[in-house]
């Protein structure tokens, strides 16, 4: 940055350091509090390892829930649909897992919580519009509500299961952490629906399946906002 008259002003205005007595008192108080509880700690593993843990939890829950409810949806998908949908789910979950990892480490880079939600909320409807047909709204709500409920029944416990992983670190911004966690949990619900739900009407998949991600993320964020 180029030198500027404002630099000079800021340097002069903010120059006086805190007086020595204030600093001494602060240091002594901090030392007595910290040194009294000094134990060795093992540094958290690499961010990649943490992200893989989140990703493994997501995949395990989604596949397990899908298999328990029955993989009817998986059987009716074509090979191309399977490859594109599950690859997209892996990418979106990887971004959400990275967002969770960043949320649990101070100063780990720009927050990815909102971009990960945006990616899922915009990317999946576009992908589904490309892969599926059928915009008939007959029984739209009647068929959609059970999918939304089933998705949330997976995403809410997933969110609770992801919390202990998040607590291994130190969360500074709980709202961002909740948003990232809610998005990843919502993606687990969406993945379960792609394995289980045999309804391939575009409008149904675009609205009700993607709604699981949105509701899960917004719910987690709202709870964090109310609590803190």
């Amino acid at each position: 940055m180029k030198p500027d008259p404002i630099d000079d002003f800021l340097a002069k205005a903010a120059a006086p350091p805190p007086d020595a007595a204030t600093v001494r008192a602060g240091v002594e108080r901090a030392q007595s509090a910290v040194l009294g509880d000094l134990r060795p700690v093992r540094p958290l593993g690499s961010p990649v390892r943490s992200a893989l843990l989140f990703l493994a939890a997501f995949a395990a829950i989604a596949v397990l829930a899908g298999l328990i409810l029955g993989p009817h949806g998986f059987h009716v998908l074509s090979a191309l649909q399977r490859v594109l949908i599950f690859s997209a789910l892996c990418v979106a979950a990887a971004v959400a897992a990275l967002a969770c990892t960043r949320a649990m480490r101070p100063a780990s880079g720009a927050s990815l919580s909102f971009p990960s939600l945006l990616l899922a909320a915009v990317g999946f409807p576009v992908l589904f519009a490309f892969l599926f047909a059928g915009y008939n709204t007959l029984h739209f709500v009647h068929e959609g509500i059970p999918c939304l409920v089933a998705g949330l029944c997976v995403s809410i416990p997933t969110c609770l299961l992801l919390l202990p992983l998040l607590r291994r670190g130190f969360v500074l911004d709980r709202r961002q952490a909740a948003l990232a966690c809610g998005t990843l949990a919502g993606l687990a619900g969406l993945a379960m629906l792609e394995i289980h739900c045999p309804n391939l009407r575009a409008i149904h998949v675009m609205v009700w399946h993607v709604a699981v991600v949105l509701v899960s993320a917004v719910l987690a964020w709202a709870i964090a906002r109310l609590a803190w």
Partner: protein
Amino acid sequence: MPDLESLMCGYQQADEAAAQLFIERVSPLLLRYFLVQPNNRRFADDLLQDTWMRIHKARHTWRRGEPVLPWIFAIARYTSLDSWRKSRRLESREIQVEELPERSASTSSSRAPDLDAMLAVLPASQREVILLLKVSGLSIEEVARATASTAGSVRQKAHRAYRTLRALLRGKNVEA
């Protein structure tokens, strides 16, 4: 003299001398960061203690090879933000009194009003960037890490803040 990174490593390994020295080296930086913010000035000492408690709880999240100061200031920033949220909640429950109590002398200083008045004009995000860059002496990349932002965004905020401050300073000089 050991650098902050090796002191932080010692702190993680429960080396008492390293932890002691680390607190001695970092506390003045933190105190200065809190004192320069008008909203935090009165509570600077409490904020310092609160920040140390958080640093202590979070010390396992720092990894060797990463810069220490952005990690410290990210924690300090949220300590200050949480304190502000808490005081805002308390203020909303306060009962109005007939007369305002006298302000303590320690809340203002001779150099404060000008800087305070000028910084008050800036949006919170720009003010924060300017304080971290100019008062705490962090680099643009370090500020980006501390504020969970990108270097480009920090540069843009600093540029906008500079433009506003420059115009204000020019106005003040003309008045004088």
